[in-house]
Symmetry: C2
Subunit: 339 residues, 2 copies
Amino acid sequence: MRATINDIARKAGVSKTTVSFAFNNPSKISKETFDRVMRIADELGYVPDPVARTLATRQTGAIGLLLPQSIQEIFVNPHISEILRGIGEVCDREGLSLGILTPLKGVLSQTIRNAAVDGLITLGIGPGMSVLELFRQRGLPFVTIDGAPAEKIVNVGIDDELSAERLMDEVLARGHRDIAIFTLKNVTLSDNGDHFSLTNDRRFAGFTRACERHGLAPERLRVYHTEVTLESGRAAARAILAEPKRPTAVICLADIQAFGVYEECRLAGVSIPEGLSVVGFDDVPLAQLVNPPLTTLGQSGFLKGELAAQSLVELIAGKTVESKALDAELIVRGSLRSV
Amino acid sequence: MRATINDIARKAGVSKTTVSFAFNNPSKISKETFDRVMRIADELGYVPDPVARTLATRQTGAIGLLLPQSIQEIFVNPHISEILRGIGEVCDREGLSLGILTPLKGVLSQTIRNAAVDGLITLGIGPGMSVLELFRQRGLPFVTIDGAPAEKIVNVGIDDELSAERLMDEVLARGHRDIAIFTLKNVTLSDNGDHFSLTNDRRFAGFTRACERHGLAPERLRVYHTEVTLESGRAAARAILAEPKRPTAVICLADIQAFGVYEECRLAGVSIPEGLSVVGFDDVPLAQLVNPPLTTLGQSGFLKGELAAQSLVELIAGKTVESKALDAELIVRGSLRSV
DNA sequence: CTGTTAGCGCATTCAA
DNA sequence: TTGAATGCGCTAACAG
């Protein structure tokens, strides 16, 4: 049985308060008692129970990243790793722990109920989704990333619609008319039919606008429902390469999918961009390293994470925080050519 | 103020127990009272407090991954992402949450004291390190990954020494004698001088054995102290390429560093493997996608994470668990040639 | 099936 | 400077 604060107090001949002070507020007791208490605590291997402390202080010293996917799916996406780095930067700075919160047994609301955190960052969750109501109930401060800016919701993200429009503009301006699109299909894990693809929807809105402006019927876009994984990108690429009339360009809504396209093209002897133009989203660190370097819509995952976490910290501290729109930049590299 | 179990009990005209049962053990109360309690709970927006519950049940439903680096450093390494995927697989299966535990304000022991988890997985922490004593004090079950197998310690990992020896054997057998090595330098974050590079040390032991067998003085190896990042790999690569007598091969203790070498070689117009052979460790998913595909010592991060987490779950359940040695395989691809 | 009671381990206000 | 008392919100024997 682990030693408790009572054991220490008894053995040291002082009260619980004194022991507590020794650990949390040493200046309030004399040096002698402090030393004695600590020595005994050391002998008995006493460590204050963090859970009990949390119950008493009402703060956990942890924030959570709430994701509607399984952990499995998360860490195949380098962009999310970048977001985590940004969040981590703030955690280090503020001395906070980080919890990765995913649906428990497929039920996200379960996760939220059980989350022992001071606040949450969510990814891809927008207004109207039922989980937000749970945050309210629990009184949990939260910040969304890639959510939808709305009343009373602090969001951090780029303008996905505009960004997608700009990207499609560039592709169309280069003469492409037969275009494939790899989507962000996420397994739906909510308990009420929410689907977590706000980003997907907004980008398609942008694509549509660009197409209409260039006189291309949006229906002409060939949509492949892909997950955000290398393998899914490869599978869809194989499908494309096998088609009788191959598209001249493929737009991947995540860079990681594009890397899969690269691989299949290499295997099939199709050179990029001569045989197929490829563009992506995110500009993950490896995008500039592949050959040819990937044309992509750059957004800083690190910054998204950092700003979201910083905002959350302020929210927890009771401050008022505004949503933030981040810059996104079309980065044209060698993987896109004119036809 | 959030509603508590007392509020619900009073309003529903029942006792706390009944409310508790309604949430945790509905079969023990009648359907009518259950419905009434839940309706009122719903009206008042009541959600049981997870912290209080944890205090009473003595279990958090979470496990932690304890890392001696900052979060920033962790997520630049794809191999760790793979490990996280493996751990996540088990978390999903078992309905557990995952905490990323890193040094709080540079002090790992602080993190351990405050960790509200049922058990821990550590990375690169071996016997004799002071943090292990803290686990004991807190009575926390733990499993190490890439630690050192020892009495009473459950470890999961490959035989790094043997693996490194095999890899060096191959490099030497191909005639290389002027070899650069990029190490795993980790910022030391412990409070007592522990250094977290067990893996680094063991691999060097393996290198040394291979060198001696081939009649190459181990001192001839050119050691570059690099971090496990792309940038660090690039920086060291630049140093190599600038040297008057360039090595013929570079061994990176992490694939991610090798990608940095690829990039600098491309910029410098040095072709791989003609101008420089490159080999790595881990076989991260992208290793087979770069051009030329990377020769590397393959180990499954996913499996490491999965086995470690599975072992931890069993340990928490009170079972006895053995350490596990995983297979590692030298994967020869195009980036290594004979001289 | 439901209520009473006693913890879980610690923080903190108020007296002494 | 120290101690007694109270509360944090919930669970779980045990009794009814």
